[in-house]
Amino acid sequence: MILNLWRAKNLERLARALLVPVDAAWLSALRIGLGVLLAISMARFLAYGWVDRLFVDPDFHFKYWGFHWIEPLPAPAMHGLFWLLLLASVTMALGLCFRLSALVLAAGLTYVQLIDVSTYLNHYYLAALLVWLLALSPAARLWSLDAWLGRQRGAAPGHTSVARGWLYLFRFQIGLVYTFAGLAKAQSDWLLHAQPLRIWLGSCTDLPILGPLFTLEGVPLSMSWAGFLFDTTIALWLSLRRTRRWAFALLVVFHALTRLLLPIGMFPFIMVTAASVFFLPGWPRALVARLARRVGRFSVARPTQPSTRVPTLVHERVPARVGWKARGLVLLGLAYCLVQLGLPLRHLAYGGNVLWHEQGMRFSWRVMVRAKGGNTRFIVQQRRTGQTWHVSPRRYLTAMQEMEMSGQPDLILQLARHVRRDLTQKGLGPVDVRVDARVALNGRRSRRFIDPNRNLAELSDGFGKRDWVLPGPSGPPPHTRPVL
């Protein structure tokens, strides 16, 4: 199909459409905003001791399939890496050695995420994706030290525009996050029972003014529906010129609320910054110009008025002929979009409730749709003697790792196999490792999660359906009442 597309005239037309130059201001603003936010994010890791707690302290790390070879660095190097990523975030924001900074940042974020599955967060993943896209894009053409230094050295003014395809690609990525986050809420727990929102609101009843409102019957369900409608449609409203400003204002309010109610760190800030891509490409200039008019101190050129100091896109045109490099990039972009579309939908191949069995959960933007927790205990039986031990995961894991593992079958399997290895090394083997795992989902009573009769030590994980994960709950969750 890709080859057919490559040969087709459609590709030529598509490429020409995507290569239409637009003002690069939006991309530079995104670079600066994201750089600043990621610098803060890295600083939080260092300041809050998360580098140690998440990467250095654990004796055992959960691996991604195919990435078992990724290991954490020794403690000093791990701290050094985060300082390096902080520096790279700053230099990326400044546009200094932009390409190198962004690539270091993207590679570093990816490495950090691959160290341990239990640290997976949707917004870390999104941040890594956005930085990779930025690193490959011409995001330093404007408002960067690289461009300024180039001009100081007498180089000819570079491009002040970027291909429209970049704008569409970023819009696609951000729109995808919102839309799939919304579609993940299209299920009865969220829409009919307001779960797990009822549970979370129950812990926010001390908030001034808002808190007591959460205890009113009907408020949690209204908020559930509001969240669902917001997520599923906001990309549309942001795309329409007439509704864009209001939609963005709503988006800011929405994320301010989520920041207030939920411990989601930098996610709201990243999303607000990233959603700016839905404005017209020259929005930063327009904003600055408006502010300048208000302040009355500066005179900033408008997007349509070329200037030597603040060049705009008017110089660039669509090339007469679309070369193989451009075609390749377009195809690469299309492939990226297809992968991004496919990943959140892969759960359909497994059936059942993805919130329960988790196959297709990661990389699919199911943001804050489950309150899921439980307890796992490994039942180890020595084959030779029949002696049985109850092995607590805490023996190998930190509290946070244990919490994450308890609701994710592939992580339970990984630890079971590790337990077998460990005990065999200690001379207790051969042993069978079964598991007593119970999980509660969205306020329901807990139920058995993993088949207790299966010897997990003999199983291996893959992309096939996990028949050792027991079926999830079918009944509705209980009616949780937030209380003061």
């Binding site: 809050y48 998360w50 707690r53 998440l54 640290t119 967060l121 949707n122 917004h123 549970i199 979370w200 129950g202 812990s203 926010c204 009843t205 001390d206 939920l262 411990p263 989601i264 760190g265 930098m266 996610f267 943001v367 804050m368 309150a371 899921k372 927790g373 439980g374 307890n375 031990w389 109850h390 092995v391 607590s392 805490r394 023996r395 930190t398 509290a399 946070m400 244990e402 919490m403 308890s406 609701g407 119970r438 999980v439 509660a440 989902l441 306020g443 009573r445 807990s446 209980p478 009616h479 949780t480 009442r481 937030p482 209380v483 003061l484």
Partner: protein, 490 residues
């Protein structure tokens, strides 16, 4: 609601809300003692073995076991109680098993409003909320008051323990030794209930400990640091006597508090636990038996006095003048949010999961492969099984309510208010089951494999409910697991 007779002002430094309602622990007997210092103090202590209150004036002559009350022979003074003692202690007479069972029963209302606590008459008011209407602030208030109530009880027992140790040191009489041992058991039985109240100043402040990283001061470890315990550390103090010049802060937590008193009162060997090549072991071996005994008793008296002082310090930290923890906890002002305060309270419950099930029971039952336990709990005294019972009573105080049968506000009321009555009921049923099995458990050293197995599995039903459903990401009231709140989520 059991209400104590108000016979004196509250403790030093405690405000009206904390002390006047809860901790009027000044004993009837010690007031009499203070008022009539020439009276033989023994006459003013009361001890019952049947759980029935006895009036100090009517305490009859000796007797043990079957006798409802017995007067202590030998001079027992209220050493170290200076000014604010709270003990109304009784003399010996109860056998170990009987005393253990009375301790397990918690407090019962005695005649005349006093509370019989084990074998001791104390005057601590049981806090039971006047209104059954639930709110999270009321739950915190109930928990703080319950902690104060148990502290009040413990202070009374600790003061009696101090007096008993001093009496033994003065007389060296075997019966005084027995009384001191018994006083230790009674104090430990109350302390084991307090183990469930590890929030605020008592709690370990480290995040990894999973107790109270916001307001914890680690004071609990000064009174009882188990599983951190080492007889060698006690020996170091006994022969080194650093505590004489530098005070108790010269002693490591592994060699002070109730653990140190246990080894000093119960360990009968004349050897040192330190490696034979160490200075301590050599000095220990070189001491004359009489000198060694005197040194041990010196340290025991210092430790007992320190336990009382530290306990009073904790109680004062609840008061407005000293730290105002009670009020800060009730308002959650000392915590980043109300939810964090509730988390800390929820984590206190998880003591029965890790410490009790995995360490105290799982190790002897053979279910736990390893644990950071340097010495089995109370193995010199042989009272590990009593501790288990007391831990469960402490759990009920916090989960159901502070009343003698679980009356008052507790987590179960929160679950009911939030629409999860079934879970509350299941946890209470699981508690009853575990309590019934553990009540029958003999001393752990004598318990059979089947008995330990049964106790472990009964307790596991309770702890599974805690870890699967009450705490953690699946909690219907959004209580986090200890130490798991580390970073962002989405």
């Amino acid at each position: 609601m059991i209400s104590g007779r108000q016979v004196s002002p509250g403790h030093d430094g405690l405000d009206s809300s904390a002390s006047s309602r809860l901790c009027r622990a000044t004993s009837v007997a010690l007031i009499a003692l203070a008022a009539c210092s020439t009276t033989d103090p023994v006459e003013n202590y009361r001890w019952t073995s049947s759980g029935r209150a006895e009036d100090a004036a009517t305490v009859g002559a000796g007797g043990s076991g079957g006798s409802p009350a017995a007067t202590v022979s030998g001079g027992l003074s209220a050493a170290g109680t200076g000014g604010s003692s709270s003990a109304a202690a009784g003399a010996a007479g109860a056998s170990g098993a009987e005393a253990g069972s009375t301790a397990d029963a918690g407090s019962t209302s005695g005649s005349g409003g006093d509370v019989i606590d084990g074998g001791l008459v104390v005057d601590c008011e049981v806090p039971v909320a006047a209104t059954p209407e639930f709110s999270k602030a009321r739950l915190r208030e109930a928990a703080a008051d319950c902690a104060l109530y148990h502290l009040c009880r413990f202070e009374a027992h600790a003061a009696y323990l101090e007096a008993s140790v001093a009496d033994y040191a003065a007389s060296l009489a075997p019966e005084a030794h027995e009384r001191a041992q018994q006083a230790w058991r009674e104090a430990m039985a109350v302390w084991q209930q307090l183990e469930l109240f590890q929030f605020g100043p008592l709690a370990n402040p480290s995040l990894a400990a999973g107790k109270d990283s916001f307001q914890g001061q680690g004071i609990r470890d000064k009174i009882y640091a188990w599983p951190i315990a080492a007889r060698c550390r006690v020996d170091e103090q006994v022969v080194g006597r650093a505590f004489v010049e530098r005070g108790m802060d010269s002693a490591l937590i592994s060699g002070r508090g109730l653990y140190a008193l246990e080894t000093l009162l119960y360990y009968e060997g004349d050897d040192s636990a330190c490696v034979s090549s160490t200075t301590t072991a050599k000095a220990y071996a070189a001491l004359e038996p009489a000198t060694l005994e005197a040194y041990k008793l010196d340290y025991a008296m210092a430790v007992a006095e320190d336990v009382v002082d530290v306990t009073r310090g904790v109680m004062k930290s609840f008061a407005p003048e000293e730290g105002n923890f009670r009020q800060q906890f009730v308002t959650a002002a000392a915590y980043p949010s109300e939810q964090e305060a509730m988390n800390v309270l929820g984590w206190a419950l998880s003591y029965v999961e890790k410490e009790v099930k995995d360490w105290k029971l799982g190790l002897p039952a053979g279910y736990t492969l390893n644990a950071p336990v340097s010495e089995p709990e109370a193995h010199y005294a042989g009272t590990g099984h009593e501790n288990l019972r007391a831990n469960l009573l402490g759990f009920r105080s916090l989960f159901q309510g502070c009343g003698p049968h679980g009356e008052g506000l507790g987590f179960d009321d929160w679950l009911v208010a939030a629409g999860h009555a079934e879970l509350a009921q299941d946890i209470s049923v699981a508690w009853t089951g575990a309590h019934a099995v553990i009540a029958e458990l003999p001393p752990l050293q004598r318990a059979s494999e089947a008995e330990l197995d049964r106790a472990y599995l009964a307790l596991k039903v309770l702890t599974d409910l805690l870890k699967n459903e009450l705490l953690g990401a699946g909690s219907p009231i959004n209580l986090d697991l200890p130490s798991s709140v580390e970073g962002d989520t989405d």
